[in-house]
């Protein structure tokens, strides 16, 4: 039981309301929703379920076997021995990477929906929060697609199934942000997030990126606030993960904005208003002009210094993925929190990325690069 450390760190942290007696806070953490007192009654079954799913994640030995495969059918044969089971049994040979990816994703979605359907509040809304992120991606994907005159049904197929919402297809009608809001998003949970960037401007590439980042910023801030209010283990674990997510977005925005028309002021507006970098690091990021400066800023933060030191032969993205995996794995060391639900989805996504990477390397005969995936357990 990590009762002592986590609880007291929370009680003594500046985040807890100063006017509260510490024991009142303890009582709240225990009895309030997601608290220890009622956790097993409400969410114990689902937690156990997710821990079971986690046990099914591919192990190092599995990966060691997978990289030895010569054709995708071999992968199918090996995956059949893992928890994936016969998920490819009904696929005709020859297999394609896309089929494997799609089937893996189907499994993830099935698992998520299974948990979501049985969840009661507040876990239900927590899980909904997870799906909002995918909704944002879908919205952006659809708008971009329409802009390039793609067929709408083809685009829908490409959308992430966790981010489906009813009136999604009508996104293609919208020509500017206001229309987007008024016609479609007003009915979705994303509505409050978009209010920060309402304008009558026509949609173009630049706008879409700004919309995406504004939406994401608002989403992350909201999610963070929600977890903080929930308190307990959830706040601790999710706080750590979301802070990292916020920092990662801020850094990515900065790096990707070099050499574009995005002004520094506009850029600053896209940074989430929390995270390890917030506020000093963010303020400095807002003023940088090149990638080296970003590195310098990050070096001041111990977490990121460690992340970046061993990045000599890896891309920044991979380093971040690795750190994310580490944080998500840590979530499974705790109990009485919702962090593991989020962490499981992210770990499973990473696993799918790994499988797809290996499958791609195999099908394109690029065996030299096959080991560049990020093992989980």
């Amino acid at each position: 039981l990590s009762f002592n450390t986590s609880l007291w760190s929370r009680v003594c942290s500046p985040l807890s309301p100063p006017h509260c007696h510490p024991f009142a806070v303890i009582a709240l953490t225990m009895v309030g929703h997601g608290g220890m007192f009622t956790f097993n009654k409400n969410d114990g079954y689902l937690e156990a379920l997710v821990r079971g799913y986690r046990a099914g994640l591919l192990s190092q030995a599995d990966y060691a076997n997978l990289v030895q495969c010569d054709v995708l059918e071999d992968m199918k044969l090996h995956l059949a021995q893992t928890d994936y089971g016969d998920f490819l049994a009904n696929e005709p040979s020859p297999l394609h990477t896309t089929t494997i990816a799609a089937k893996c994703l189907d499994r993830l979605v099935d698992e998520f929906n299974h948990v979501r359907i049985q969840a009661v509040q507040p876990l239900a809304s927590f899980l909904d929060y997870i799906s909002y992120g995918y909704m944002i991606d879908n919205v952006v994907l659809l708008i971009t697609g329409t802009l390039h005159e793609r067929d709408i049904s083809e685009l829908i197929d490409k959308c992430h199934p966790l981010g489906f919402f009813k009136s999604m297809a009508t996104l293609s009608v919208a020509h500017n942000v206001a229309e987007l809001y008024n016609n479609v998003l007003i009915d979705t949970p994303l509505a409050p997030y978009i209010q920060g960037c309402l304008s009558e401007e026509d949609l173009d590439e630049m706008n879409i990126e700004i919309i995406r980042n504004t939406l994401y910023k608002a989403y992350l801030e909201d999610f963070f606030k929600y977890c903080e209010e929930m308190g307990g283990e959830t706040a601790m674990i999710m706080g750590e993960i979301l802070k990292f997510e916020a920092d990662r977005r801020a850094i990515n925005i900065t790096i990707n904005s070099f050499g574009t028309e995005l002004s520094k002021d506009d850029r600053e507006k896209l940074y989430p208003n929390f995270g390890h970098l917030y506020p000093e690091g963010i303020a400095r990021l807002a003023k940088t002009d090149d990638a080296d400066a970003v590195r310098e800023i990050l070096a001041a933060y111990p977490t990121y210094r460690d992340v970046l030191t061993d990045s000599a032969d890896k891309s920044l993205e991979d380093c971040f993925f690795e750190h994310e995996v580490k944080l998500n794995k840590a979530a499974f060391e705790t109990q009485f929190g919702y962090g593991i639900f989020y962490a499981y989805i992210k770990l499973r996504e990473q696993e799918i990325r790994n499988i797809v990477w290996i499958a791609e390397c195999i099908s394109q005969q690029m065996k030299t690069k096959i080991n560049q995936f990020i093992p989980i357990f």
Partner: protein, 834 residues
């Protein structure tokens, strides 16, 4: 009985099979089902084994078969054919002659044919749906327009749909130019189509938002359900028509329709044109119907031909897959072109296996015959194989559920066949209840053939599997019921009670010259001291049975010890079995003796009469706590001396079990250790000399019970022995007490049935109201059935199970074996059987 007493002697055999004959050999052995193959390549990945391509091919064929099956399942007429064929299996002979390649080719063709047919069918269906939808749109539109003009009140304008519907009264008065804006009316466009009904609310809302309310929409339900051509799900749909104004809106609305997957159909502007189109559509629909029926018939025929063979094909492919899986476990000697297999088989089966090998060699036409040689197993426990009949199987399963017996260990199932139902009967003793159980088990046994051939649900399958257990259980329940003299809790006066109601004149001593012939005298029932009597009797009986069964358990460990190698056999015999039996009998054996002795003696009529015979339990306790004080009164002369003797025996047995045995083990351990060191030295010497090393210790004798655990620390052995001894001594007391559950359950059973009878039958009968008797009798019967027959039998079963698993088996049962799982088609094809 012999083969049940200990598991079959096994041997490890090695097979050398020519690669050409391998497939047929494994096939023959699969039919035989007497060899459990060992995986000789445990470190090789599944996809790197020798015959992985064949396995993949089988996987692919299985996939195709599943596809066929799904297709067949969609055709109700053909599906019936499938189930009828699977039972008689007549078609299976035809396909076994076909080679795998032929089958694969056939499957390929069939799959392609079916896929093409499905594609055609889907296309035809889509066309059909479109036409049907268009038909509906046209008919409904006519109604819309009529209504619309009806509202405007100018039916003569029905010729043109683009009339200004929302025009003001002023504009509507102007007849001529309907299209021009000059008249003040606005040109209206319309879009019409069909949409899934559940999408309508969202559709309407989005439309309203996108046009800011500038539209007029009507809709009507389509009564006919349309089948989605791709997914095959029936969808309910609505026809809609949207009137709007302006081209930009038209674009927008069409886009929205598209995004909602609504099918938009062109509808002509005038009524006449619409009528013509409707006629055309109807004609085309009729033509299409003919084509559709024909293609459906065609598909049905193909599927019917598939369905006939499907079961046989599946069996064939599963067998092939199993063969290649097995062959993947073999070593492939590339130089000699042969496969090397290793596996366990019963010693008695060698000949059958030889025959099978010969048959396979002939079948495949291989030049070199397969060779079977027996090899020595080193430090590996062979699998445990108990041959069972349908009668003994359930009892063996009861034991196996606790743990599979160690190889060649004494099998507790032999005794369980009698003791298990007997202990159940002791707890469930009632003639009436036992009789119902007997009828139930007899029904299951008589219908054995019929029930065995079909798949049963879990509730029925459980008693069916244990039907012979149930049968014996019911017999012993009836027997115990006669002993307790209970028939639905009522006493039966069969032989005439020996008790006469004492009256004041003839004194109150009953007739003692005659005892009731069998069981307990019915007069005890309802007597004021009924419970005192029954409790004393049942309690003592439980203890006696318990001690008896535990002693038998210790004797079984004696048989186990005999089967061990020296010196283990000697150590176990004299330092384990003998002290255990000494300890148990010195205390609890003596107690049993006292029980019988107390029953035997007529205490009030002894020469010096003892009015109150001594209680046994305090006597035994005092024997331990105050050994120096003699029991008062003495039950027989020399009892006190006997106590000293028994205590000494118990003490000696404890000494033998712990310190002496430890010392002997230590000595043995040291000796072995020295020997090993010595041998190692010798081995080095031999190696230098280039000689062959022969290990005396690796000799494996399968007649022996080998329980040595290799080279382990002595401290572990010591701790294990201490725990074992403490467990036995404490267990002797607690297990004996545990047997009191026999009394407790039988008491509960009899009390419960008495209460049911008194309250629900005897009471209302005394009340005299006839309808109430009927009502209460049925309540009584329901209660008897649900509580006494179902729940009580379950609980008695569980307690009997516990007494066997814990109290009986912990005296001797090692139970760390592995079950013999031969490669056998029967289990592969029906995995539920085992």
């Amino acid at each position: 009985m012999g083969h049940l007493w200990r598991s079959e002697p096994m041997q490890l055999v090695q097979l050398f099979v020519q690669i050409e004959a391998a497939h047929d050999t494994v096939d023959e052995l699969g039919n035989l089902g007497l060899i459990q193959f060992r995986d000789l390549n445990p470190d090789v990945n599944a996809f790197q084994r020798n015959f992985v391509n064949e396995v993949k091919r089988c996987d692919e064929m299985e996939r195709k078969l599943r596809f066929f099956e799904a297709q067949v399942a969609q055709e109700p007429g053909v599906k019936r054919l499938l189930s009828s064929v699977s039972v008689d299996g007549a078609a299976s002979s035809s396909s076994t002659t076909q080679s795998l390649d032929e089958l694969e080719g056939r499957f390929d063709e069939l799959e392609k044919e079916l896929a093409q047919m499905n594609a055609n069918q889907t296309m035809l269906n889509r066309n059909n749906n479109e036409l049907v939808e268009l038909q509906h749109v046209l008919t409904k539109d006519a109604v819309f327009f009529q209504e619309a003009y009806g509202n405007v009140g100018e039916p003569r304008r029905g010729e043109d749909a683009r009339a200004p519907l929302l025009a003001s009264g002023a504009s509507s008065g102007v007849g001529g130019d309907m299209f021009g804006a000059a008249a003040g009316g606005v040109k209206l466009g319309f879009v019409t189509g069909v949409i899934a009904r559940d999408k309508i609310p969202a559709f309407e809302r989005v439309l309203w938002r996108a046009t800011r309310g500038n539209l007029f929409m009507r809709q009507a339900t389509v009564e006919q359900k349309l089948r989605d051509p791709v997914s095959g799900v029936e969808v309910e749909k609505n026809v809609f028509i949207i009137f709007f104004q302006g081209d930009r809106l038209q674009q927008k609305i069409k886009k929205i329709c598209e995004s909602f997957q609504a099918n938009v159909y062109p509808s002509p502007d005038t009524t006449r044109e619409r009528g013509e189109l409707l006629n055309q559509v109807t004609h085309r629909l009729q033509d299409l119907e003919v084509v559709l029926t024909r293609s459906r018939e065609n598909r049905k025929q193909v599927l019917a031909s598939v369905a006939v063979h499907l079961q046989a094909w599946r069996t064939r492919v599963m067998k092939e897959k199993a063969i290649y899986h097995t062959m993947n476990m073999f070593n492939y000697d590339i130089g000699r072109k042969c496969l090397i297999a290793e596996g366990w088989c019963p010693k008695t089966a060698t000949e059958e296996i030889q025959y099978a090998l010969r048959r396979a060699t002939q079948r495949s036409g291989a030049l070199v015959p397969s060779i079977l040689s027996v090899i020595r197993a080193v430090h590996e426990q062979p699998p445990t194989y108990n041959r069972t009949s349908k009668y003994t199987k359930a009892f063996q399963e009861i034991v196996n559920a606790y743990g599979i017996a160690h190889y060649r260990e004494v099998n507790p199932a032999v005794l369980s066949i009698v003791t298990f139902p007997f202990l159940f009967g002791v707890m469930f003793g009632d003639v009436g209840h036992g009789f119902f159980l007997l009828i139930f088990s007899l029904i299951l046994i008589i219908k054995e053939k019929q029930l065995g051939s079909q798949k049963l649900n879990e509730i029925i399958a459980m008693p069916f599997g244990g039907r012979y257990v149930l049968f014996l259980m019911s017999l012993f329940a009836i027997y115990a019921g006669f002993i307790y003299n209970e028939f639905f809790s009522l006493p039966m006066d069969i032989f005439g009670t020996t008790w006469h109601q004492p009256n004041s004149t003839s004194g109150n001593i009953p007739d003692l010259t005659r005892t009731y012939a069998f069981g307990i005298d019915p007069a005890w029932k309802g007597a004021p001291n009924e419970l005192d009597f029954y409790n004393s009797f049942k309690m003592k009986m439980s203890i006696v049975f318990g001690i008896l069964q535990m002693s038998v358990g210790i004797f079984l460990s004696f048989f186990n010890a005999m089967a061990m190698k020296r010196p283990h056999s000697v150590i176990n015999m004299w330092l384990n079995v003998v002290p255990q039996i000494m300890f148990l009998w010195s205390i609890f054996g003596y107690m049993c003796f006292l029980i019988f002795y107390k029953w035997y003696i007529d205490w009030p009529h002894l020469p010096p009469p003892i009015p109150n015979p001594p209680f046994i339990l305090p006597l035994i306790i005092n024997m331990f706590l105050q050994p120096s004080t003699p029991p008062d009164p003495l039950m027989f002369p020399g009892q006190h001396t006997l106590h000293y003797f028994l205590l000494a025996v118990a003490g000696i047995s404890l000494m033998l079990m712990l310190p002496v045995k430890l010392a002997v083990l230590k000595m043995l351990h040291n000796k072995e250790h020295n020997q090993v060191g010595h041998e190692k030295h010798h081995d080095d010497h031999h190696d230098h000399a280039g000689g062959v090393v022969h290990h005396q210790q690796d000799d494996f004798d399968d007649e022996c019970l080998d329980v040595s655990h290799g080279d382990i620390e002595f401290s572990e052995v010591a701790i294990h022995q201490v725990i074992h001894t403490i467990e036995f001594v404490l267990g002797a007391i607690s297990n004996t007490a545990s047997y009191l559950r026999l009394w407790a359950l039988s008491l509960a059973h009899s009390e419960l049935s008495t209460v049911f009878w008194d309250r629900l039958v005897a009471g209302p009968v005394a009340g005299g109201s006839v309808p109430m008797i009927f009502v209460f009798w049925s309540v009584w019967f329901a209660g008897t059935f649900a509580v006494l027959l179902v729940m009580e039998s379950l609980s008695a079963f569980l307690h009997a199970l516990r007494l066997h698993w814990v109290e009986f088996q912990n005296k001797f049962y090692i139970g760390d074996g592995t079950r013999f799982a031969p490669f056998e088609y029967k289990t592969i094809l029906n995995p539920e059987e085992q």
